[in-house]
């Protein structure tokens, strides 16, 4: 058991890859076996990852389950893994969502099943690796290769203009990450010039002393890489296309995990590496965040396509998370991290429901639906919960995160927060209006006369998410108590740099007061 716990991160990261290798040897024709085996293996992976949660010490900000091996001695790159409160929950989210995505694709993915499940498992490995690595080069390796399976998933199993969307997705994110690589190498070399040691160890690179002008340039370079992933307002255009054309499982993974890498990147890399620059550029980023919130919400209102609507709602929600992160108070950052998980759960669920609607009626246009409540009461009820969670109804998870973000940001950036709050109203408008048009009123489309309710498999698919919505909404402390030490430490780093700029006036603590 002790050895298991010692190497648990490596086991978690490479288990899906080994599973994928196992699946390579199974006959292409045995689709049922492939699906079942992949799903069971991903469930096993989720169960293994729960050990992290059980053995995680919640009273420290230090990295836990650390593994460190020599990798490229010449350049001081190491195989260095470790997690803190933030990456813990993102890893759990990843393993859970991969399982759910595989479970949701039983009906949707009809051809090339073998390739699909293999790619999903490979994708999982790289996502987990990126969340767990504390070595910049290792992180970059996982981070950039992640694009490739996603690109295949969108391009092969997508609908409509899938090739266009897939190529747009990969080129946008690739360009962003390459510019980010430039920034990371520059920091690496700067650290070498200052200390005479090559190292990619993130914890050592934190102490690099970067001149302010260079810091701002580098921050912008790295910002581009992460902002494309989030996606923040002017860099978001790949997202609606990618989401709309991707298969349901792809959309779920994209929305619930891949987008989080942008925020995670800011949290783990950009801000601690270049604290002064991030403090100086905070107003700019907050403006972009608020624009994302309001723009995303307004554009969502006028969408005719269900999936596009949910995609644009992601832009809006991610804006909130950026706002909370860059407000840089303990409360707002807590809220941001929690909201990352919440957004993964809620938006993932929304995409699952949209996928179910699409599987039944082969259309995603809102106008083609209406009156489904009578035909599919279970679907309607569960869909309603997901929608309300996304809207931010108290008692469900979305409320906790948004509330913390807004409370934490209000004192620092009052005007921005007021504008952002208006986004919540718009969120209610587009989501509830959408729900009304899809589910209530009378059946206008004849095709929907035979609309079927959810099957057992589909209920199992969404049930964990629905339960989590209630759980986090009612008792968020399970998460927050583990997230908080990390966040407080993060805020302390920023505080440490504040005296020169005097921007952050007081450390607010809701949970550590």
């Amino acid at each position: 058991m002790s050895i298991f716990l010692k190497y648990i991160l490596s086991i978690i990261i490479f288990f899906p890859l080994l599973s994928a290798l196992l699946l390579v040897f199974i006959n292409k024709k045995a689709e049922g076996l492939l699906r079942n085996l992949a799903t069971i293996l991903s469930l096993a992976e989720f169960v293994i990852s729960l050990f992290l949660f059980i053995y995680f010490k919640s009273n420290t900000y230090q990295f836990q389950f650390v593994e460190r091996f020599s990798w490229i001695r010449e350049f001081g790159a190491t195989y260095f893994l470790g997690i803190d409160g933030v990456s813990l929950f993102l890893i759990l989210l990843t393993t859970l969502m991969t399982f759910i995505a595989l479970l949701s694709s039983y009906k949707y993915i009809k051809e090339h099943v073998k390739e699909f499940v293999i790619l999903m498992l490979v994708l999982e490995t790289f996502m987990l690796g990126a969340f767990a690595s504390l070595d910049i080069l290792l992180f970059y390796l996982f981070w950039e290769f992640m694009l490739i399976p996603m690109y295949y998933i969108i391009g092969i199993w997508g609908t409509g203009r899938k090739v266009y969307s897939a190529v747009k997705f990969i080129l946008y994110t690739l360009a962003g990450s390459l510019i980010m690589l430039f920034g990371l190498i520059t920091i690496f070399i700067l650290h070498y010039n200052q200390t005479g040691n090559f190292t990619f160890n993130l914890l050592k690179l934190y102490h690099t002393n970067i001149p302010l002008t260079l810091q701002i340039i580098l921050f912008i370079a790295i910002f581009l890489g992460f902002a494309v992933k989030i996606p923040l307002f002017p860099f978001h255009t790949w997202l609606p296309d990618a989401h709309t054309e991707a298969p349901t499982a792809g959309s779920v993974i994209l929305a619930s995990v891949l987008l989080k890498f942008g925020i995670y990147g800011f949290f783990r890399f950009a801000i601690p590496l270049m604290p002064e620059a991030s403090i100086i550029l905070t107003p700019v980023i907050l403006v972009l965040a608020v624009i994302s919130i309001i723009y995303g919400a307004l554009v969502s209102i006028v969408q005719k396509d269900l999936k596009r609507l949910v995609a644009f709602s992601s832009v809006s929600h991610m804006g909130f998370i950026v706002l909370g992160l860059f407000a840089m108070t303990a409360v707002s950052v807590d809220g941001s991290v929690l909201q990352m998980i919440n957004h993964g759960i809620s938006t993932g669920a929304l995409f699952l429901f949209v996928g179910m609607l699409y599987e039944r009626s082969h259309t995603r246009l809102i106008a083609d639906f209406g009156g489904l409540t009578k035909k599919a009461p279970i679907l309607a009820a569960l869909f309603m919960i997901a929608v309300l969670s996304s809207v931010g109804l108290p008692g469900l998870n979305g409320f906790v995160g948004e509330f913390l973000i807004l409370v934490g940001s209000f004192k620092q950036y009052t005007v921005f927060t007021i504008f952002a709050t208006s986004g919540i109203i718009f969120t209610a408008v587009y989501l509830l209006w959408m729900f009304q048009r899809v589910m209530f009123q009378d059946i206008t489309n004849k095709n929907n006369e035979n609309f079927k309710d959810m099957t057992l498999r589909e209920i199992i698919t969404v049930l964990p998410l629905i339960l989590l919505m209630f759980f986090i909404g009612l008792y968020p402390d399970v998460l927050l108590s583990r997230i908080n030490p990390t966040v407080v430490h993060f805020v302390n780093i920023i505080e440490h740099n504040k005296y020169a700029y005097n921007l952050i006036k007081a450390k607010m603590g809701l949970f550590n007061a």
Binding site: S70, W71, I72, R73, E74, F75, H112, E115, L137, Y140, L141, F142, W143, E144, F145, L147, I148, Y151, Y152, G155, I156, R161, K162, V163, A166, V167, I170, L171, L174, A175, L178, I179, L181, F182, I185, T186, F188, I189, Y192
Partner: protein, 521 residues
């Protein structure tokens, strides 16, 4: 500096012969193949293929035996040191892969087979000689030796106009380049009075320390260096001197294209590093800036031109021009890290390029004769392993992590940033992002059939019907033409591309060790 008297005292024939042992072995085997070609039974069989492989293996063996020695030979024209060990390994690997790729390639074509393998061996030995030369005349001779073999090999498909055209272009332009090189050597000789790189180095080194001394021959030296650079840039196919590349790469038999794109290019870079670090490093005329511009132009041009290609072979030809630009960045960065990064990149480069050409040969054997990218519809699911391997090579060429291409780029770029070339790296990174598009385009064609565009244009519909015919043929031809040798090449390249991308440490050590011997000048 170097003790010249001690160097000369050691010159006797045995030692000289020892210094060219790996090359000599290859030449002996090349002659054996030629002689055995007299017998009819051997002439038409596969024996020459096996003899060539054995020759390469023996050469490896001698390389391994000698690998810990530093031997000077032939009155200071040849040196065998750690630097050579690395380059010999890379060149021999490239030759080994080329010979494997050649098996059965000429079955359907009416050409002389034993002569082909002997020519390949000759050209490999010439490349090795080139890298180990340290005398300008010796360099010139090796370049000519290598090029003449390459000219013949390029035009080896008798009667095919593209092959002949490629050979002709290569020959005429190549002769010009050699003339430039020779002319440059003359100027350098006029300026310094030496042909040996070490002596030229020492001469310039001494001159540069004479304060207030107006060095009369400075102009001659500068002209000589520029001309020398032109001659070498031609072989490395850098931008303004690249024009022969696409045509001869396209026209040549694909195994030969592989040899030109990997072996010859590696040898050219090898000798360029030797010459550059010994002579150019004094920065007469600011050669770093000239190379800077050449690198940027080469990358940008190669990528833009590759973007417009629809023929796979031409696309890889142009992309190999762009790769040369990236490799050059390492040399510009210079120093221990820059050069070792370059060597690593070269090693990575031969595997990914040979792998990609292996797939191209597979396509050619499958009678997708045009090698038009458009004809790959649905290939991905019909031959999943082949297509996956091909995608992996393309991703490696594009520089996506987990592949050797990323590690190579990473080492080279880091070294360049370390030397302060921020803009160069920035441009290179933009180039890589741009280049990713045309590599991805091929993957799109293999896996993602875009139904909409099929229905829209007539050309696509015709193309589609062709493909169905081709698909019918594919099934039949598959058994005969995907030879085990081809499979071995692809698997080897795949493994090395992955290992170099994930565990580069041993290879970096190897490259670094060879660089330290270069620094002993």
């Amino acid at each position: 500096m170097l003790d010249l008297t001690q160097m000369y005292s050691e010159y006797f024939l045995e030692k000289s012969l020892l210094s060219v042992m790996p090359e000599a072995v290859l030449i002996i085997f090349a002659f054996i193949i030629l002689l055995l070609g007299l017998f009819k039974s051997i002439k038409n069989g596969e024996n020459s293929y096996y003899i060539a492989l054995i020759g390469i293996v023996f050469s490896f063996l001698y390389l391994f035996i000698l690998s810990n020695h530093t031997i000077h030979g032939f009155y200071g024209s040849i040196i065998f040191d750690k630097f050579d060990v690395f380059f010999f390994t890379v060149i021999l690997l490239s030759g080994f892969l080329t010979i494997l790729l050649s098996k059965n390639y000429f079955d359907t074509r009416n050409v002389l087979i034993p002569e082909y393998y002997s020519l390949v061996l000759f050209s490999i030995s010439a490349m090795m000689l080139l890298v180990s030369s340290i005398n300008l005349i010796m360099i010139f001779l090796s370049i000519e030796f290598m090029s003449i073999a390459a000219y013949i090999l390029t035009g080896y498909l008798k009667g095919e106009s593209r092959s002949t055209e490629g050979a002709m272009k290569y020959f005429i332009l190549g002769t010009f380049a050699s003339a430039f090189f020779l002319f440059g050597s003359v100027f350098i000789y006029a300026a310094t009075g030496h042909l040996n790189l070490y002596k030229i180095h020492n001469f310039i080194f001494q001159q540069s320390y004479k304060a207030h001394y107006i060095y009369n021959s400075h102009t001659f030296l500068a002209i000589g260096l520029v001309l020398l650079l032109v001659g070498l840039a031609f072989k490395m196919s850098l931008f303004p001197f690249h024009t022969w590349t696409p045509d001869s790469y396209d026209g040549a038999p694909t195994p030969v294209t592989n040899l030109m794109a990997t072996g010859i290019k590696v040898a050219a870079f090898g000798i360029f590093i030797r010459v550059f670090t010994s002579i150019y490093s004094f920065n007469i005329l600011n050669f770093y800036n000239i190379l800077w511009i050449l690198a940027v132009l080469t990358m940008t041009f190669g990528n833009f031109a590759a973007l417009l290609q629809t023929d796979l072979k031409r696309l890889i030809a142009y992309s190999s021009i762009a790769q040369a630009g990236y490799i050059l960045i390492g040399i510009i960065a210079g120093g221990y890290y820059g050069i070792s990064g370059t060597l690593f990149y070269l090693l990575a480069y031969i595997f990914m390029t040979a792998g990609a050409f292996g797939i191209v040969i597979m396509f050619e054997n499958l009678k997708l004769a045009s090698v038009d990218i458009k004809s790959y519809y649905g290939f991905g699911f019909k031959y999943p392993l082949t297509a996956a391997a091909f995608s992996f090579f393309l991703l490696s060429l594009a520089g996506i992590p987990v592949t050797s291409g990323f590690m190579g780029k990473f080492f080279v770029f880091s070294a360049a940033i370390k030397s302060g070339y921020y803009w160069l790296v920035f441009i290179a990174i933009l180039n890589s992002a741009f280049a990713a598009y045309y590599y991805i385009k091929i993957i799109v064609k293999m896996y993602m059939v875009d139904n909409q565009s099929n229905n829209n244009s007539i050309a696509d519909v015709i193309n589609d019907s062709n493909v169905t015919v081709n698909n019918g043929q594919m099934e039949i031809i598959k058994e005969n033409h995907v030879t085990s040798a081809l499979v071995i090449v692809i698997i080897l390249c795949l493994i090395f591309t992955l290992i170099l991308g994930v565990f580069p440490q041993p290879f970096i050590n190897f490259a670094a060790k060879s660089v330290t011997s270069l620094w002993n000048i």
